[in-house]
């Protein structure tokens, strides 16, 4: 049962092959025995899951089931869940239980999906390895010595290790696509504004976007059908009709125009990954696609732009964690200043502190124009590059990451080296475009991802491309365990 895709599980439940309670128990049992190795979950919600599974079975028996009714899934521990701890991987929120439910988890609850638990992540989603979690690192199911990527590393590892058939993730600079690539699964970051951010703990508000992490593109479409949609509680969500993302999965790709940006194949790219990426592109050509060389000249500038804008927003988003209202508070503060400083010194980890300081600096009087404003100008130029490119091609393809998953601890003393690993994913968030990573090869025994970037609100096309590729190849079906 636990080897099946979401689509297969949905059919199995529909046909009565198994019940949601049986399925949920199978996952909970597997998590209980196996997750010690991976540490993909921070919190397993067994009682809730079984309660939801029973309700789902009842609903199905009454003939009211949706596609995902009774299907167990996991949520990144960044989505607030009413009555269940939402830690965001931080000591600061180790004791935080939200009195409200995020829009994303509400939608899954309403669809009748079962919540297995909350998955591990880099603290406040700041990181590319899930090593910065207060709860300790998650391990890559393909090689326990390696990182699963991040920040949605717990979700990626859970899906790769059959600890959940699908999970939610969030992506601020690659946090869905990069762990998907590292763990050999499918992940899509929708267009900014497609999925509501209500109840999703903010890191970089203008960049954060929730999305699905699954075994297949078809599963991602099923998940996105639930997640997407305008939300009056999120002013940045877009009031636009949401298509059935499964509707176009089987469209032929004949005539599809693919752009290959030369900047995505330059220095720093692992040659084996380049090879795997180009082999995937060849596959698309064989399916009738047309390939064109393009340029995204400001790609390199996306790193400095991102590492100003995201920390700037984060530095103020995280000001609310002050020990006054909820979350961690230091013991016996002597005065207000002491309470602030010790609470935050104790509650935040190293990477979070680093980004708060970078962001605070970038917004400071006298530096604002040189950093934040300049970064915003770069952001516009980067967006213009994409707009121009996407007027000539339908999608842009390239590697999701320059390297396969690295060893745990390898980047510990060199945060900038880790930042540079985000080179291919950051610009997509800066532009607000949808981006997908699908497995397309194996390097050093580790999976690698193909990134497909589409035009605004063109998620259907990305999923169509992913599905067609997965019909012709079996990279997505290769298993870590």
């Amino acid at each position: 049962m636990i080897n099946k895709t979401l689509a297969e599980l949905s059919s199995g439940l529909e046909s009565g092959e198994f019940s949601s309670v049986e399925l949920t128990k199978a996952y909970l049992d597997h998590i209980a025995t196996e997750d010690k190795k991976y540490h993909s979950y921070i919190t397993v919600t067994g009682d809730l899951a079984l309660k939801q599974a029973k309700a789902a079975d009842k609903r199905r028996s009454e003939g009211n089931a949706d596609k995902l009714t009774g299907v167990p899934i996991a949520h990144k521990d960044i989505f607030c869940t009413q009555g269940i701890r939402t830690s965001c991987g931080s000591k600061m929120l180790d004791n935080f239980i939200a009195p409200y439910e995020s829009t994303v988890t509400t939608k899954f609850n309403e669809a009748g999906a079962v919540t297995l638990g909350k998955t591990n992540l880099d603290e406040f989603a700041m990181g590319s390895s899930t090593e910065s979690s207060f709860y300790g690192p998650t391990k890559n199911p393909w090689d326990l010595d390696r990182v699963p990527g991040g920040s949605s590393g717990g979700s990626a590892a859970a899906v790769a290790a059959n600890l959940a058939p699908a999970a939610t993730g969030t992506d601020t600079g690659g946090s869905i696509r990069q762990p998907a690539a590292f763990c050999g699964i499918t992940g899509i970051k929708p267009t900014y504004g497609r999925v509501s951010r209500w109840g999703m703990i903010a890191y970089g508000s203008s960049l954060d976007q929730g999305g699905p992490m699954t075994r297949t593109a078809e599963d991602a479409a099923l998940m996105l059908n639930v997640m997407a949609g305008f939300d009056p509680k999120d002013s940045t969500s877009v009031d636009r009709e949401v298509p059935d993302f499964t509707a176009k999965l089987n469209e032929p790709l004949k005539g599809l125009r693919i752009g290959l940006p030369k900047e995505f194949f330059g220095a720093g790219l692992n040659p084996a990954i380049a090879e795997a990426t180009l082999a995937a592109v060849k596959q698309f050509e064989a399916m009738g696609a047309v390939v064109k060389d393009i340029s995204l000249p400001r790609t390199e500038l996306s790193i400095p732009a991102y590492y100003i804008i995201a920390p700037a927003e984060a530095s103020t988003n995280l000001s609310r964690y002050d020990g006054v209202k909820y979350g961690h508070r230091c013991t016996d503060p002597v005065d207000l200043f002491d309470m602030y400083t010790r609470t935050r010194a104790e509650g935040f980890g190293e990477e979070v502190k680093r980004r708060i300081m970078i962001g605070t600096y970038a917004l400071s009087a006298g530096y604002y124009d040189a950093y934040y404003k300049k970064a915003q100008q770069l952001r516009r130029l980067i967006k213009d590059d994409f707009t121009k490119a996407l007027s000539e091609v339908d999608v842009i393809m390239g590697p999701t990451t320059p390297s396969p998953a690295w060893k745990i601890g390898a980047m510990k003393n060199d945060p900038v080296a880790m930042y540079l690993e985000d080179i291919y994913t950051l610009s997509v968030n800066l532009a607000g475009l949808p981006g997908m990573s699908i497995p397309c090869g194996n390097v050093e025994g580790m999976p690698v991802g193909l990134q497909v970037i589409g035009n605004y609100f063109d998620e259907s096309l990305l999923l169509n491309i992913g599905h067609q590729f997965q019909k012709e190849t079996d990279w997505h079906a290769k298993k870590a365990v």
């Binding site: 960044i78 009056p232 940045t236 009087a365």
Partner: protein, 475 residues
């Protein structure tokens, strides 16, 4: 040395929306602590602000009322600072693109002339909560009921030259916001609050002196006192060889003094930047026009109309027009009594005196416009004298009945029957032969004596005019 005073005012007006500017929590005043603070107001993780359009409409209405440029695109920014009553660690406000741009307000000076005070801008922002330092034994309590209440911050140019002008400006702002009903203007409850930037310079000097910002001046009276204190403090300081420090000072109403709060030099760097959780607010001409169509007649227009239509003095007209309810009351009295001048006298005189004394709005006064008009009609038809009317008015205030009931009950009807008055005068003259002889020998001053005696004999009810007239004849 002669000194010149330069004052700029920042007025915070709480907008009378039902819910907060970025959340659905109630803005009602006076609830138990933290009962009107939702997850958004508490800055819980993952919550997002949603802009309340009613605050936008009220901001635009103010802009129209002061003839200002309206920001067709306004942008919210984050102003970052740590304080327990600021739950997010930043305030959402408007920095570079406020909803209201340059406008102006005209005030009347003591000599009756008009002065124009330019308004730099007015922007929308959220109010903070309150820190409570008593009753917590060494700890502080935080009440976030007020957090997120919509504010319009109205910033004047430094064009105000005295404490009295500052009060006149504030009263005008108060009058405007209550006219257009964007705020209840209740200063005691903090619906309108004022910070004053005060500086002095030697008369004739071009550059401005160093300013101090006086905070917490929340009544018209305190504004005047606080500014006057601050002016004197600065002048004394400079004349004693010292220099004014740029700082924030708190007004202490009990001690009637301002005290240094914190120095602006070491104040926060607020690190303003555009609020990424909210889109820029864009409005078009039609949107503004639709609000313009709902605007009532404003104080200045009403003053002009009162002068024109009722022949009132500029002073009376502007006093009556300063409050929408007072103006309405006056017009009702005037219409029924058909005597605008007398109506204006009574409303600005006796009635306003008692309203102000009891700290009431005219709508709360125990005397209806209809009753006051009836009283005026009784003066005009000679039923009662002006002096009797004051007695009746006082009884009306005590809710003793309608003017006619009171006149009846107190037996206050004026005696206008001339034969009855003649009889009284005859009695007076007969009773005072000595005085009569003195008068007739040239002591004119005694005329008043006879009037007094006649009024006394009539128990005050004789028509004073007729007494005078008949007495003159008889003497």
């Amino acid at each position: 040395m002669e000194w010149e005073v330069v004052i700029g005012l920042e007025v915070h007006v709480q907008l009378a929306t039902n819910t907060k500017i970025f959340s659905g929590a109630s803005t009602k005043y006076g609830a138990a602590p933290n009962t009107q603070a939702c997850a958004i107001d508490l800055a819980m993780p993952g919550v997002l602000p949603v802009f309340n359009e009613d605050a936008l409409r009220k901001g635009v209405a103010f802009g129209l009322a002061i003839d200002a440029e309206i920001g067709k695109k306004s942008v919210f920014d984050r102003k970052n600072y740590f304080y327990p009553d600021s739950p997010k660690g930043y305030q959402i406000t408007q920095m570079d693109y406020p909803i209201v741009g340059k406008g102006h307000v005209d005030i009347m000076l003591e000599d009756g002339s008009t002065k124009r005070i330019n308004v730099t801008r007015a922007h929308l922002e959220e109010d903070a909560g309150k820190s409570l330092h008593e009753e917590f034994e060494g700890m502080s309590g935080i009440d976030l009921n007020r957090a997120g209440t919509p504010l319009l911050e109205i910033v004047s140019e430094p064009e105000i030259s005295s404490a009295k002008e500052a009060v006149a400006y504030l009263k005008k702002i108060h009058s405007i916001i209550t006219y257009i009903e964007i705020s209840d203007g209740n200063m005691a409850e903090g619906s309108m609050r004022c910070d004053a930037n005060v500086s002095v310079r030697p008369k004739g000097q071009k550059e401005l002196g160093t300013r101090a910002e006086v905070k917490n001046v929340n009544s018209f009276r305190f504004v005047e006192k606080a500014i006057n204190f601050e002016i004197e403090r600065q002048i004394e300081l400079i004349e004693d060889g010292g220099t004014v420090v740029q700082e924030t000072r708190l007004y202490d109403a009990v001690k009637d003094e301002t005290r240094s709060m914190r120095s602006k030099e070491v104040a926060n760097d607020y690190r303003y930047f555009p609020e990424p959780d909210l889109l820029p607010v864009e409005i078009d001409h039609e949107y503004i026009e639709a609000i313009a169509e709902t605007m009532p007649e404003l104080p200045d227009a009403k003053t002009a109309r009162f002068i024109e239509q009722y022949g009132l003095s500029e002073y009376d007209a502007s006093v009556l027009a300063s409050s929408k309810s007072l103006a309405l009351y006056f017009e009702q009295v005037s219409e029924i009594s058909n005597d605008a001048k007398l109506s204006a006298n009574w409303v600005t005189g006796e009635l306003s005196a008692l309203i102000n004394k009891n700290n009431l709005d005219v709508t709360e006064a125990p005397i209806t416009a209809k009753d006051l008009a009836t009283l005026i009609l009784r003066i005009k038809d000679n039923t009662i004298s002006g002096r009797m009317a004051k007695t009746v008015f006082e009884a009306m205030w005590e809710k003793e009945g309608t003017p006619d009931d009171i006149i009846e009950a107190k037996g206050l009807k004026q005696v206008t029957d001339s034969s009855a008055i003649e009889k009284i005068i005859d009695d007076v003259l007969a009773a005072n032969p000595e005085q009569l002889a003195e008068y007739r020998s040239g002591k004119d001053k005694l005329f008043g004596f006879f009037v007094g005696q006649a009024m006394k004999l009539s128990k005050g009810q004789a028509s004073p005019g007729q007494v005078n007239e008949i007495l003159k004849k008889k003497l």
